[in-house]
């Protein structure tokens, strides 16, 4: 195949008064993995949407192999050899892989009969060529996320894409799936494709990029080599020196405040999500719950809040039984809860920032208490929290749905931390949040611990759990398979996350040095991704 050189020259994109892209120059050489690094809201996705023909640039030009091109629709971009994998997949769940890949380019026989065999064969050819193992006959809805993403990549390849844009592809992946994706990306590079990889995760950039362009507030602020340190990259991205290490004193655990005793959570369909979990949490300590997504962590936190009633077992906070309380009662007892999926469960997008900042507080003084809300105190609270948590919003009356994800998360965290707490639970507290905000949220969580509040952090990002937690409990298929100190090796944690609790193996792993981000062993990778798949179909 002929490789393709892509240049963006002086791309500017305005939305009203907002300049999303400001004279951006970017050159993607054939056969390179070019990383576009930037905070949330920096203008990365806008730029790629311009490139993909979804937005028309206000000024500037796109040059393909020396020829200036105008893309009015995504179809034009596809014709020019550009393919895009969106963060949100554009797949038909009830179609097979082959059908999805062929969608829009159906091969037909006489009388418009679909030529499924040819479609299958095309998919299989691509699978063989790039090592993108996926069964063409499986329904897309039965595939784990990592494989769905692969189908998206196949879709682009089948349309002869030579430049692939991957928009935050790792946001939805487990660490193992991420490694798999990197392998695929390298294979594509080897065959002459170039890849634009959009992300804000520094480790990934270093692991896979050939060249790095950093965007901040709509402008290119610099290029970097993958050899640059994470701290350098972070500073370039945020525009100020950033501390990537969570600073905290050793925990000074006090009395046991929170307990779970053989808690089991079963859903309406009879699936057991949490299976006899015992936990103890002391005053002033952070318990990290690690595990691959979908191993019961979500259900565990929901049971604590009262969104799910445990089928068995007892949950107590300061001696009071929580397992039969409603979410409101639990919240009123002094539980702060940051849900895993903020857009879904954390904020009401149509409500203003001010309203979201009191979403679970309106029934209490000073915001309410009787029948009426006190609008003045709601506004005062909003001004205060916006300043305190550096929530970037046009005004406190903007709908929260218009904020960037990181700022939405700050709204949720601000709300849940702005009252005296007896227990703080945060699921994925920094998912989708950029480095600057992450630093801030981590500091707040540690500060809350230092006030004496017991804290539970659930995260699928091992780095986050290791950095924050004083003890780490690893969940696998609804059980706690081990509780280890944060000094445990990655190897050991990886094995636990894969459900291995053989003491001999773990002891062996404990002795090994920490594995690097892209260096986890292959055996762990495969066990984990298959497990993940099985969970999904259970």
């Amino acid at each position: 195949m002929t490789a393709l050189k892509l240049e963006l020259r002086g791309i500017t994109k305005r939305f009203g008064s907002l300049v999303a892209n400001d004279h951006i120059d970017l050159t993607v050489e054939p056969g390179e993995i070019h990383c576009l690094l930037g905070e949330n809201g920096a203008g990365k996705s806008t730029l790629m949407n311009v490139l993909y023909g979804l937005y028309e640039p206000t000024s500037g030009e796109i040059v393909v192999d020396g020829q200036p091109r105008t893309f009015r629709t995504a179809g034009d971009a596809i014709d020019a050899g550009i393919g895009m994998v969106h963060q949100h997949f554009m797949l038909v769940p009830v179609f097979t892989v082959a059908e999805n890949v062929m969608l829009g380019e159906e091969e037909t026989k006489a009388l418009g009969w679909l030529d499924r065999r040819r479609a299958r064969k095309k998919v299989l050819d691509l699978v063989a060529e790039y090592g993108l193992a996926v069964d063409p006959d499986v329904m897309v809805e039965d595939l784990p996320v990592g494989l769905q993403q692969r189908v998206e990549i196949l879709k682009a390849l089948v349309r002869d894409a030579k430049v692939l844009i991957l928009d935050e592809p790792t946001a939805v992946l487990t660490p193992q799936e991420t490694q798999e994706l990197f392998r695929v990306m390298r294979a594509l590079r080897a065959s002459g494709h170039s890849i634009v990889f959009i992300t804000h995760k520094l480790k990934e950039v270093k692991a896979v990029a050939d060249r790095i362009t950093v965007i901040r507030r709509g402008k290119v602020v610099g290029t970097a080599e993958p050899s640059a340190s994470e701290t350098e990259l972070a500073s370039l991205m945020v525009g100020r020196p950033v501390d990537l290490v969570v600073h905290k004193e050793p925990a000074r655990p006090g009395d046991v405040r929170f307990t779970m005793d053989k808690v089991t959570v079963v859903d309406d369909l009879g699936n057991v999500h949490v299976d006899g979990v015992d936990l103890e949490l002391r005053e002033g300590e952070i318990l990290g719950i690690a595990g691959v997504q979908g191993n019961g962590q979500t259900e565990l936190t929901e049971a604590i809040l009262g969104l799910r009633r445990p089928a068995a077992g007892k949950i107590t906070l300061d001696g009071r039984d929580l397992s039969t309380l409603s979410p409101r009662k639990t919240l009123e007892m002094g539980v702060g809860f940051v849900p895993e999926d903020r857009q879904h469960d954390g904020i009401v997008g149509e409500f203003t920032v001010a309203e979201n900042l009191v979403l679970d507080l309106v029934t209490r003084p000073p915001f309410g208490g009787g029948v009426a809300i006190n609008p003045k105190s709601v506004r005062e609270n909003a001004y205060k929290r916006v300043r305190e948590f550096d929530i970037r919003t046009q005004s406190i009356d903007s709908p929260a749905g218009t904020l960037s994800g990181g700022n939405q998360q700050k709204v949720v965290v601000a709300r849940e931390m702005s009252r005296p707490l007896r227990l703080f639970i945060a699921s994925q507290p920094t998912r989708g949040v950029d480095v600057g905000a992450m630093e801030f949220i981590h500091q707040r969580i540690v500060a809350e611990r230092d006030l004496g509040t017991p804290v539970i952090i659930v995260s699928t990002e091992l780095d986050e759990v290791v950095a924050l937690a004083d003890r780490i409990a690893v969940m696998y298929r609804g059980r706690i398979v081990g509780i280890v100190p944060p000094t445990a090796s990655r190897e050991q944690l990886g094995l636990l996350m894969a459900g291995v609790d053989d003491p001999a193996l773990l002891a062996a792993a404990a002795g090994k040095p920490d594995a690097e981000a892209d260096g986890t062993t292959d055996s762990t990778d495969t066990t984990d991704s298959t497990n993940d798949g099985e969970e999904g179909q259970a």
Binding site: F15, S45, V140, G294, L305, P327, V348, E350, I373, G536
Partner: protein, 433 residues
């Protein structure tokens, strides 16, 4: 920007047990979104203009005399065009004179004549205001209350019974009648609320079925001795005592009555509930994002029951004004007591975009069309049914803002400004299809 974390909800995670409506917003929610976000004042105004234009075309098409003139259109286009113009102009002048003011009455110097049309408009608008609030309040909680008809009937039955069964002093009697009407409607709607909230049954289906139950229950009631007017075989109820009726505000010659005061009070109450009360906050949260509301400790079923009860209470007030108002001289029940207002109410809420001010103006507009329509029929000889067509076209256009934008070549409301910002924030993939 591309920060919005994709929902971890994937086939790889086990389905949530309560997951039915997790991904797909409920129909009520979709409708509310369409109403609240899809429109602008401009679109509404243009929809009204279009409605009147379509009404005019229909007048011409339904008038044989004018149509005959079109047979020689190419020989003498002026004749047919001027005839059409005269027809439509006369009709709309009559519509205006019947609903706002008739200049020819100025000479009379007699206030009831001059104020008559506006009094008619307001009187016609009164039940529509209650209805618009009723539907809007349910909309805001994410529920589509199709059952206003049944709730009107339930309210009317209780109010009427309270009105004829007892003979109480001035003031007290009316207050009890009003309370009975509210209770009747609220209770009847709460049935749907409970079925929805506790058992997940779809409110649209339930309320439609409850409409039939109410309607035929009323027909049966009107055959019983307890309700049927003595000495008749017709399905007509007993007349209420005069203390139970809504008094007219400015003498017997103007139909404007206490109902409008109640309606305005209800609008203020509606505004307060939505914007200032903790309950309204919860209703809106549940309507907008039930999952987040639940996580924030709100009880979704409770909010749904409350929203339906409030909605039904408002519909019950229509029942009161239908029995005790000026358009029902006998102040008695009939099987047509709801007069289709339960459905007109939906269009009022749509047109008013569920806001208190919007509902007020939408009600006044529809009230004016109704009031002027009678005059139009009487003096211009154009059927009052045209008014219904005009209303229907307006609502159709308001329900499909892109259509109006296309007709008038308006720029999409989402070009530039905040809309674009939203698009950027969410990665802008919405533009792809």
């Amino acid at each position: 920007m591309s920060d919005e974390t994709p929902a971890p909800e994937t086939p790889a995670t086990p389905a949530k047990p309560d997951g039915g409506d997790r991904k797909q917003p409920s129909m009520g929610k979709q409708i509310v979104d369409a109403i609240v976000t899809g429109n602008s004042v401009v679109v509404t105004f243009l929809a009204i203009v279009l409605g009147l234009v379509v009404g005019g075309i229909l007048m011409v098409l339904s008038d044989q005399e004018v149509l005959d003139k079109y047979k020689y259109f190419f020989a003498d286009p002026g004749d047919s065009l001027s005839a059409s113009w005269t027809l439509v102009k006369n009709a709309y002048v009559a519509l205006f004179e019947g609903s706002i003011v008739d200049p020819s009455t100025f000479d009379s110097n007699y206030a009831p004549f001059i104020l008559g049309p506006i009094s008619e408009t307001i009187s016609q608008a009164t039940p529509l205001i209650f209805g618009g609030i009723a539907i809007s309040i349910a909309f805001r909680a994410g529920l589509f209350n199709i059952g206003a008809q049944g709730q009107i009937i339930a309210g009317a039955i209780l109010a009427s019974w309270m009105g004829f069964q007892f003979d109480l002093p001035v003031g007290i009697h009316l207050i009890l009648v009003i309370l009975a009407g509210i209770l009747g409607g609220a209770f009847y709607a709460a049935i749907a609320g409970v079925l929805k909230g506790r058992f997940g049954a779809h409110e649209v289906i339930i309320t439609i079925m409850l409409n039939y139950i109410a309607l035929y229950f009323l027909s049966w009631l009107l055959t019983t001795d307890a309700f049927q007017r003595p000495g008749t075989q017709q399905l007509i109820g007993k007349s209420a005592h005069s203390n139970a009726t809504l008094p007219r505000l400015f003498g017997d010659e103007l139909r404007i009555n206490l109902g409008i005061i109640l309606a305005l009070a209800a609008l203020v109450l509606y505004w307060w509930i939505l914007n200032r009360s903790a309950m309204g906050f919860e209703l809106r949260a549940v309507g907008s994002n039930p999952e987040a509301a639940r996580t924030a400790g709100m009880s979704v079923p409770r909010a749904q029951v409350v929203a339906m009860a409030l909605s039904g209470g408002m519909a019950g007030l229509i029942g009161v004004s239908q029995v005790m108002g000026p358009y029902n001289p006998a102040h008695s029940l009939t099987t047509a007591i709801d007069a289709g207002l339960g459905f007109t109410a939906i269009t009022v809420a749509l047109l008013g975009r569920t806001s208190p001010v919007g509902v007020l103006f939408a009600s006044l507009l529809f009230g004016a069309l109704q009031a002027g329509g009678s005059r139009m029929q009487a003096s211009a000889g154009v059927s009052i049914d045209i008014v219904i067509v005009v209303q229907a076209v307006i609502v159709l256009m308001v329900a499909a803002p892109p259509l109006v934008r296309t007709i008038f070549r308006l720029k999409g409301a989402h070009s530039g400004g905040e809309g674009a910002l939203v698009a950027t924030e969410t990665g802008g993939v919405g533009g792809e299809s």
